[in-house]
Amino acid sequence: DVKVTQSSRYLVKRTGEKVFLECVQDMDHENMFWYRQDPGLGLRLIYFSYDVKMKEKGDIPEGYSVSREKKERFSLILESASTNQTSMYLCASSLARTGSRYGYTFGSGTRLTVV
């Protein structure tokens, strides 16, 4: 089974800190995604990547950046954390460019609190 691992389940950071959220997948998927999940809003796409060193903005990229130096790892960076970035962050990967017949495989999520 594909495994998508997010390094932290819970994080508490201070306003203004630089925050790194790490995601690693072990099935050689080319496509990786970062979503944030907020009550009543579903999942919103922050950034995605179809290849190493490649990134594309999703719907809400402001305040975030990403890094994909290796195929298996996709990092989300909050350059200067703010309280409105308190949320659940979900990483996903997929074999196909879209979900195709397999859908996405999600990590367990990181619940980030910015104080």
Partner: protein
């Protein structure tokens, strides 16, 4: 822009009852996905619907897709407490760059 709407957003039902969750989307797509999320957990893939008229069933859950109506349904038969979770539908965007998710339906099944 593709919009995905689910309803209801909250659903409380008695064990043994039937109910349907609806997922409407705004632009052409023939790929729709249903996910389940338990509290504090990640999303688990339930169904992948890849064509008009597709129907998938797993236990007490059945999902269907009508691409002409831009509608998918998730039908729950004889609900049990273990089905309590949040259910999301998601649709591929037309330009095939990513999936758009509905807001989720929080289902609570009471004894």
């Amino acid at each position: 822009e593709l919009k995905v709407e689910q309803n209801p957003l909250f659903l409380s039902m008695q064990e043994g009852k039937n109910y349907t969750i609806y997922c409407n989307y705004s632009t052409t797509s023939d790929r729709l996905y249903w996910y389940r999320q338990d509290p504090g957990k990640s999303l688990e893939s339930l169904f992948v619907l890849l064509s008009n008229g597709a129907v998938k069933q797993e236990g007490r859950l059945m999902a269907s897709l009508d691409t002409k109506a831009r509608l998918s349904t998730l039908h729950i038969t004889a609900a049990v407490h273990d089905l309590s979770a949040t259910y999301f539908c998601a649709v591929d965007t037309r330009n095939n760059n990513d999936m758009r998710f509905g807001a989720g339906t929080r289902l609570t099944v009471k004894p």
